[in-house]
Subunit: 339 residues, 2 copies
């Protein structure tokens, strides 16, 4: 532990025999041709020799820019979030930005807390997977002029920028597909929530049932709280499948729900797709390795992450207003679980 002396701008200036201003100009490639070529070269040379590393904190304080973005997801441990995080990381790095992340656990309080903490740390902007009841928090960001873009979740009738998928269409397609395979009693397992993207999935599900002239029975929908566990989902599976008139197909509203649901189905020795066909949202390796490869709605994560990050950074760097509101198409990947 011998903290080697940090090299400062001043050290270089001293060494070369010029002012710190000149050094700053040269190293930032400013006033390009107004500076003596020799001095400039000398400065660059010494900077390299001394292995000068600019203190970004000082720079940030001066410039009022940290080149850092805050990423708020529901839970970084969930593959859906972490895959997005990776894409955002890469996209940000390309442009010289780093990312600080935080998990909200679907709680407004935690989300608000994260926003505050990250704002205090002066992040230049946010990418947020908004939680239920967080409209006010987001609105506040907006009125305070903090740049952000929402991902995955968003608010209808609000001008906030977002990039998400067409959840209505995706659910509709999935249900139509099941209907096309002759399924008559298609169940839905989803969250009991006011989150718009999930409501859209339910709406798509309903619309497809109607369109296909299928029974739209309340008993075919099972909703669990957003922080529910294996047990709660298992109960839903029981309710939908262990009756005298069970569902012959099931649509899961998220990867976590599917995970719990599949476990339950297997534990109950119910066969997929013979006894019940299955389709689910999101993509995970698990779906492909399950004993029956699963039919799933594949969200274009790369596209979501890229568009969100690009737009945000463009806004930050070119001071353009953030207006994008994108609903990308999700692809239905058909496998054996729904055949």
């Amino acid at each position: 532990m011998k903290p080697k002396k940090k090299i400062l701008l001043k050290d270089i200036a001293l060494e070369v025999g010029v002012s710190t201003a000149l050094v700053s100009y040269v190293l930032n490639n400013q006033k390009e041709n107004r500076i003596g070529k020799e001095v400039a070269d000398k400065i660059r040379k010494v900077a390299k020799e001394l292995n000068y590393q600019p203190n970004q904190i000082a720079k940030s304080l001066k410039m009022q820019k940290t080149h850092t973005i805050g990423l708020i997801v529901a839970d970084i441990a969930n593959p859906f979030s972490s895959q997005l995080a990776r894409i955002i990381e890469d996209e940000a790095k390309k442009k010289g930005y780093t990312v600080i992340f935080g998990s909200s656990d679907e709680k407004v309080d935690k989300m608000q807390d994260l926003i505050n903490v990250l704002l205090n740390r002066q992040v230049d902007g946010f990418i947020i997977a908004a939680v239920e009841q967080s409209e006010v928090a987001i609105e506040q960001l907006d009125t305070n002029g903090v740049p952000f873009v929402l991902i995955d979740r968003y608010f209808p009738n609000q001008p906030f920028p977002y990039v998400a998928i067409d959840n209505y269409g995706a659910a509709f397609t999935a249900v139509s597909h099941l209907a096309g395979r002759g399924k008559k009693k298609i169940g839905l397992i989803t969250y009991e929530t006011s989150l718009f993207h999930l409501l859209e999935r339910k709406r798509g599900y309903r619309a497809a049932l109607l369109y296909e002239n299928l029974e739209d029975d309340k008993h075919l929908v099972h909703e669990v709280t957003i922080d529910s566990t294996q047990q709660d989902v298992k109960q839903g599976i029981r309710r939908l499948l262990l009756t005298e008139n069970p569902a012959d197909a099931l649509l899961f509203g998220s990867n976590t729900l599917a995970m719990y649901g599949l476990k339950a189905i297997r534990d109950l020795n119910i066969l997929i797709p013979e006894q019940v066909a299955v389709v689910t949202f999101d993509e995970t390796d698990t779906y492909n390795l399950f004993y029956v490869p699963l039919t799933y709605i594949k969200q274009p994560l790369a596209e979501i992450g890229k568009q969100a990050t690009e737009a945000l950074l463009k806004c930050l760097q070119e001071h353009q207003p953030l207006t994008l509101q994108v609903n990308l198409n999700a692809e239905l990947v058909v496998q054996k679980s729904s055949m």
Copy 2:
């Protein structure tokens, strides 16, 4: 977009009619009882009214501390990494720290790059899953007096602090278990690497074979490069299982390898555990949902993340030297794939 005026210390001072120094003292609870109770209360009241949010960047510059730690993993999109990230995030938040992350993709250059970027951003310390050939980079951190702790991977014969598992023991246990179930030709699929933790797994595998009086045949070990794909692993599976004298059990050295391997095994219509028993490192939901629940070596991720973070933060806050070198025990979770 009407950037509301940021409230500064000065604003509070002005409002209350005191100096910024006093405000700072009060809000940081310093000089507790040397300050007039009334003024103090007034200051706190006004600060709340104005919703004062201290600028952490300014604070950081002054204090030479950012209360930020850098987390470098192989790939944040990999569940192993993201689960650790979540634990570290929580542990850090408890103590008022935030975390910036980066993915190295198992490349020294990227890792070195990340270290530089994060150092420039003045992170107070690092938690790093070191990549191959990164010993020099780590040594440099050490000589520069930058606090860090390694996770998962580490260097033998180096005094660097780390928390990892007993890879030798874990592999030994796994192989012994297979031998105990009557397996005679136990194969290993792992990476061709100099990473110590993986060498340890191989060593444990070998030692167990010897101990159990089993064949230690080079042909039973298949190594792929660390950036290898589904195809490379499939080839390994072919080599080990599609011969006249195939392996009757397989140990996978990581979750990614297992993922690829299981896909290959399924595609080749080889039955687990009838034709080949399987054990793998790491834990994922997939293992439980696979058509045969998988026997796996469960790393104590929570413990790893917690100990690493706690030690690092303790060092940062109490300026204690970082000396922990911990090898935790991994648990073998026995399921049907090895019965």
